[in-house]
Subunit: 268 residues, 2 copies
């Protein structure tokens, strides 16, 4: 059993907290029974598991580690103290994994009928991004296209907030310029939101397929984003606030589209 | 100008991070131009302001401090270093306030036609609570009833996430037993949500007024909560997730009610 925090693999786990390391290596670290189990079920390519036998009381967790080992994934056993030294949260469950990030390609993406995509510009908060992935999964959307300066979905906070949707949703990273060219090429309707629009999001007739574009927490969509949109929708608000939380606003629009599609199916 | 971090008022600001101190004193500390401005506009009773002239570059902030002083609110001037020593976040704007918490009384509350309330059981995350307040304000709901072990809306993270809705929304704190007795007395329809229900939240005919009851992040509504509900609604989900983020789920239901009411008004 490994007890030295100077071991290169242990040091790598710690370094993977930094976006720069994640970006350079194409790897990420996840922790906890639920997320490691989800990653396994969704076929995420594991580099190695790290297990603290003294902390891993769950038999499901032990089976998971055994199964991975059978499939050739190295399982690193560490002491409870060592695990606690790099754990993402207090009271860890004693199982973690370093795995390969999975990204889809924008040029190869051709949204078909019934599909729904979300594009996000410059989202800053990993928790918001993870929550959007979770909602996106819930309404059966295909995935999220991250433009320019978006936060990293493989940030531990984003991964945790996504509740496993990080692995079921397609993730695409691109620039606004490339996205813009692609959108025109595939002729896909792009829907933005803005408090300044006259088009109520609830009475709008949603095209199928479509992409919902959301802006940053601080600024929303910028003029160049709005200019690319085929329609700009307003989510009405009656209170004192002039905006909603980003993950909430995204969910409100996604569920409206989901409900419209469900209504339509019922009518057919 | 005050530079000693041992000053009792400065010590109090630091202590107000603890829920216990907030609960014992009935006070809370808020920080930043936007929230202090909102609190002022909404008539929140200020105990004292704390200002770091070297950090407070905004003329709006300076006017705000002057105006409060004219109205008899003490304004404590501190050095930038002192302000940074208790500031809630990095790069503070140099204005904060200690103010009195405002709570509404459940027995005196009699929801009228057109009203909408949210009741929350054992919500753990202050960010979720703040986001729910923000959405509640946006759909024109009256306020939030916090049952049993709910987190504190006057926690700095909840206050920040509420974006000022903390002051426009009515806040009520009570036990489930008292809430239950009150609900029966005022004969108000209570709507819960559960993945196990057959009633789609989108096709439900919402009573007016009504209360939406949401459970904790981990457990959702417990059997005793569901038993008190007049209807239990299901938010459909097609993906792998079996639940939504709590603030998202609440928003999805609140916007559905808001849209139903708007549709009805249009038909009249």
């Amino acid at each position: 059993m490994l007890t030295s925090p100077a071991n290169p693999k242990i040091k790598q786990i710690r370094k993977l907290r930094d976006r720069k390391t994640r970006s350079e290596t194409g790897l990420f670290y996840m922790e906890g029974l639920r997320i490691v189990g989800e990653a396994f079920e969704q076929g995420i390519q594991m580099e190695y598991l790290v297990v603290a036998p003294d902390l891993l009381v769950s038999s499901y967790g032990q089976e998971l580690a055994n199964l991975q080992q059978t499939q050739g994934v190295p399982v690193l056993e560490v002491s409870a103290d060592t695990f606690n030294s790099f754990a993402l949260k207090d009271g860890p469950q004693g199982i973690g994994a370093v795995a390969r990030q999975r990204w889809a390609s924008l040029p190869k993406t051709r949204p078909a009928h019934g599909q729904l995509w979300i594009a996000l510009d410059s989202v800053a908060d990993p928790g918001n991004l993870g929550t959007i992935l979770r909602t996106s999964d819930a309404v059966g959307a295909q995935g999220v296209i991250l433009l320019d300066q978006c936060t990293d979905p493989y940030d531990p906070s984003a991964a945790r907030a996504s509740m496993g949707a990080l692995f079921s949703q397609k993730l695409i990273k691109t620039s606004f310029a490339e996205f813009s060219a692609w959108k025109k090429q595939v002729a896909l309707p792009l829907l933005g939101t803005s408090g300044g629009s006259d088009q109520d999001y609830h009475t709008f007739v949603y095209p199928d397929p479509c992409i919902v574009l959301m802006g940053s927490e601080r600024q929303g969509l910028l003029p160049q984003h709005l200019a690319l949109c085929d329609a700009v929708l307003r989510i009405p608000m009656t209170g004192r606030s002039d905006s909603l939380n980003l993950a909430v606003a995204t969910a409100v629009v996604l569920y409206e589209i989901y409900n419209h599609r469900r209504d339509k199916e019922k009518r057919l």
